[in-house]
């Protein structure tokens, strides 16, 4: 009885609690991101387009993921540094040269920081650049066709992390070595020396890659640097245009157990580089040319979209010990990771991984300190400015492990706190924390469309989180990383959406869709196909033998190949299928898959020619077929190749439509 009484008395409390919970659920802005309000903000109705393109680096998948924002829909993947069997990138004869390096054919890469090209400090929708961290390279992707168009290798570099960031008119893409390595004094050649001779022998380099109006990249100059680890970078803008800033850690020059040994100094450095001056020095022939073999690989649009590799043998190196005013060190606590310049170009925010504050330097104060030679010392011949003299201020209590900062259009900065898993919003002028929001979990970079340019679209923020556990249906020990979309249009940040991303996205870039989508290619004009092995009509299809090389000039169109019966191929032949897609219709690629081929399929866009090399090893009749469902008769889109023994006298013959 007393129990029942208790129960009935408690009922109203339960109801009140439930109502309270429900109402909280509706109005909350954090964990309750799945409220209908949030859903409405990310809902893009069927047939409608997202407001922004988001370009997310694929990290260890080596590619670039393209997402629509705010929906978080994964709309495309652009193959860049890793072979992609899905369309033959790096497997077909046209794109293999894109993987050429001074270490030979490198079929995998670690893609880290995408960066949109800029004009007048604003994203312009022409290209995305992205760096490869492992075998130092930088790629340029054309946003007219969402394809990698050029990849340049960075010599005298061991790891390429602090890249690829652009100057406000895309004059340069910057790159800096993550790992310093032993380099001889004269020619910066990697040396066979004891690792514990680090302090004597190890050096780093920072590279400036000139970008032409057409997008061609070449290394204009490198700057020899002390043997630290160079981590991230951003260029100045507005008043600080002409300068670029690079974080470094390991000013201790440790070579083992860096977690302890490179975390001893209270401060490491941001290297401030006067690239305008460096460019002048380079143009005047200062510094010296040294051997520095590296490849520039590019898709030759003049010649049918076939990639070419060009070996460049030398590189110009500038030495800050000999050339005045090139580099200054800004002391920065403590093992700084990100370095981010606000849209006004006046402030330089660092993310001190082990720091309890976010140090923000003032560009004006930096210039005054340089003028007054207000140095606290020098480091291997490079002046170190006085910390107190250049500091705009420190953001107090910014969360644990601040890494990266992006900016909105209202004078606010947003910093990821990796260890405390939150995003902290602070006022760039007053340096006061004004809001914070939990993210799930461990955010590395974050992205606001245009958030590192002079004109951010301060509407959305994407947190790129390293740990995903419990956010989606489990997929075994491995899960896609999670991105979280946060509304930053109001005073309080509001979590809107979780979505999974491929690989390990590091940085991302966002751009208003209208800056990109009007310039899309929909097909390649067959008249303009300059591929040396194109068959531009069914009349031109043929099979030609040249020794043990056999060239098949084939066409595809819904729903047949021509020729589709080929005989006279022999074991030991090298067969090249040059397949031209005669379609002139948007979104109608054709696939070409050959049984037993040791590479991948071809996926040929309308109007293009692609080449698959096949070395038949067995006698018999082998089918090929189209992999991309193209019409009602897609399944009938097939053919046969007869393979005879090496000593057979079957002549080459071919046909289509004969029975």
């Amino acid at each position: 009885m007393s129990k029942m009484l208790k129960k009935s008395l408690l009922w109203p409390f339960a109801v009140v609690a439930a109502i309270g919970f429900l109402s909280m659920g509706c109005s909350s802005n954090g964990e309750f991101g799945s409220s209908s309000d949030a859903a409405e903000k990310v809902y893009v109705a069927p047939g409608e387009h997202d407001e922004f393109y988001g370009f997310f680096s694929g990290g260890y998948n080596g590619q670039l993921g393209v997402y629509g924002l705010p929906s978080g829909r994964h709309i495309f993947t652009i193959p860049v540094f890793s072979q992609a069997a899905v369309n033959g990138w790096g497997y077909n004869e046209e794109t293999k040269p894109m993987f050429q390096t001074s270490d030979g054919f490198v079929p995998w890469g670690d893609a880290h920081h995408p960066e949109l090209s800029q004009t007048n400090g604003e994203t312009d929708g022409r290209w995305v650049f992205i760096n490869e961290n492992n075998t130092p390279r930088i790629a340029r992707i054309g946003l007219d066709e969402f394809r990698t168009q050029e990849i340049i290798e960075i010599p005298n570099s061991a790891g390429n992390h602090a890249s690829s960031f652009v100057t406000p008119n895309t004059e340069y893409v910057t790159a800096a070595t993550r790992f310093s390595v032993p380099m001889d004094e004269d020619n910066l050649q990697n040396m066979d020396v004891s690792i514990d001779s680090y302090k004597d022998n190890f050096q780093g380099t920072i590279s400036f890659i000139k970008v032409s109006d057409e997008g061609h990249m070449n290394i204009d100059f490198q700057i020899r640097m002390p043997g630290f680890n160079y981590d991230l970078s951003h260029s100045g803008k507005g008043p600080s245009d002409g300068w670029a800033f690079f974080t470094s850690y390991n000013s201790e020059e440790a070579h083992t157990m860096l977690e302890i040994n490179a975390s001893k100094n209270d401060k490491d450095y941001i290297a401030a580089i006067n690239w305008e001056k460096a460019a002048e020095y380079a143009a005047n022939g200062e510094g010296k040319m040294i051997p520095g073999e590296h490849y520039r690989n590019y898709i030759d649009h003049e010649e049918g979209g076939v990639a070419k590799s060009e070996l460049i043998e030398e590189v110009r190196v500038l030495d800050p010990r000999e050339l005045d005013g090139l580099v200054y060190f800004l002391p920065t606590p403590k093992s700084p990771h990100g370095v981010d310049v606000d849209p006004s170009g006046r402030y330089i925010a660092a993310g001190g991984k082990l720091s309890t504050v976010i140090p923000v330097h003032s560009f004006d104060k930096m210039m005054t300190a340089i003028e007054n030679e207000d140095f606290e010392g020098e480091e291997q011949g490079i002046p170190v400015l006085n910390y107190e003299s250049i500091l705009h201020g420190e953001v107090e209590n910014p969360g644990l492990g601040p890494l990266h900062t992006e900016f909105d259009d209202k004078g606010n900065a947003y910093t990821t706190a990796f260890i405390s898993s939150e995003i902290v919003k602070w006022d760039v002028e007053t340096l006061e924390v004004v809001d914070r929001i939990d993210v799930y979990y461990s955010p590395g970079h974050l992205m606001i469309p245009g958030g590192d340019s002079q004109n951010p679209d301060g509407k959305y923020l994407v947190a790129l989180n390293k740990i995903t556990k419990d956010r989606y249906l489990p997929t075994g020990p491995e899960m896609f990383h999670s991105a979280q979309l946060i509304d930053i249009s109001g005073e309080k940040m509001q979590l809107l959406l979780d979505f999974p991303t491929e690989g390990e996205p590091h940085y991302a870039q966002g751009i208003a869709a209208e800056k990109v989508k009007e310039n899309q290619k929909r097909f390649y004009e067959i008249e303009g196909n300059n591929h040396p092995h194109a068959a531009k009509s069914e009349k031109e299809t043929r099979v030609e033998r040249d020794g043990n090389e056999v060239h098949v000039y084939m066409t595809t169109i819904r729903s047949h190949f021509a020729p589709d019966n080929i005989e006279g191929i022999k074991v030991g032949d090298e067969v090249y299928f040059h397949v031209t897609n005669l379609e002139q219709d948007w979104d109608v690629p054709h696939g070409f898959a050959m049984k037993g081929a040791n590479n991948a399929e071809l996926l040929i866009m309308p109007g293009e020619t692609m080449t698959l090399k096949w070395e038949p090893k067995k006698v018999g009749v082998f089918p090929f077929y189209c992999t991309d469902f193209c019409s009602a008769l897609h399944q009938e889109m097939q053919g046969y190749v007869r393979v005879s023994s090496e000593d057979s006298d079957v002549e080459v013959s071919y046909s289509t439509g004969q029975s």
Partner: protein, 154 residues
């Protein structure tokens, strides 16, 4: 046995009912299509629907234009059309004896709408399993192709 018969009867009844509904749908569609067909003007019935909305006449073949047309045809049309035999699409050897130049140009330049709305295009289209694709010819190129087809039709 009895039960299965009843189930069978019920199934048939349901199928019939669905059939009726489906039938009425088809009827509606047919009516709609008729309406579309009725909307076609006399010009469109003869010369097709599309960007070419005036009559094109070919009095004497221009051999230069016909040659250009042949090159375009080989590149953009020849994978599906032969002159003398059915291939992916219908043979075109005598096409200009049965269709007007404007009709053929509209078929080249606007195959999607033609196949959807024009009774002749629809009827021919239904005999072939692969729908005619838009090969993005310019009006000038389509005109040249027609010149070539006129030459071949002589």
């Amino acid at each position: 046995m009895k039960i299965s018969k009843i189930v069978g009867l019920m199934t048939v009844t349901i199928l019939l009912l669905i059939g009726c509904e489906g039938g009425s749908d088809t009827n509606t569609e047919a009516t709609a299509n008729k309406e579309v067909e009725q909307e076609l003007t006399e010009f469109e019935m003869t010369n097709g629907i599309g960007p070419v909305n005036e009559e094109i006449t070919i009095d004497e073949i221009d051999p230069e234009l016909a040659k250009e047309g042949m090159q375009v045809f080989d590149m953009k049309c020849g994978a599906c059309h032969k002159m003398d035999s059915r291939y992916v699409g219908p043979p075109l050897g005598g096409i200009m004896n049965t269709r007007t130049p404007a009709y053929v140009m509209n078929m080249i330049l606007n195959p999607e709408e033609m196949l959807e709305k024009h009774p002749i295009a629809k009827s021919v289209g239904s005999e072939y399993p692969t729908r005619m694709t838009n090969q993005q010819l310019t009006r000038e190129k389509a005109r040249a192709v027609v010149e070539y087809l006129a030459q071949e039709s002589q």
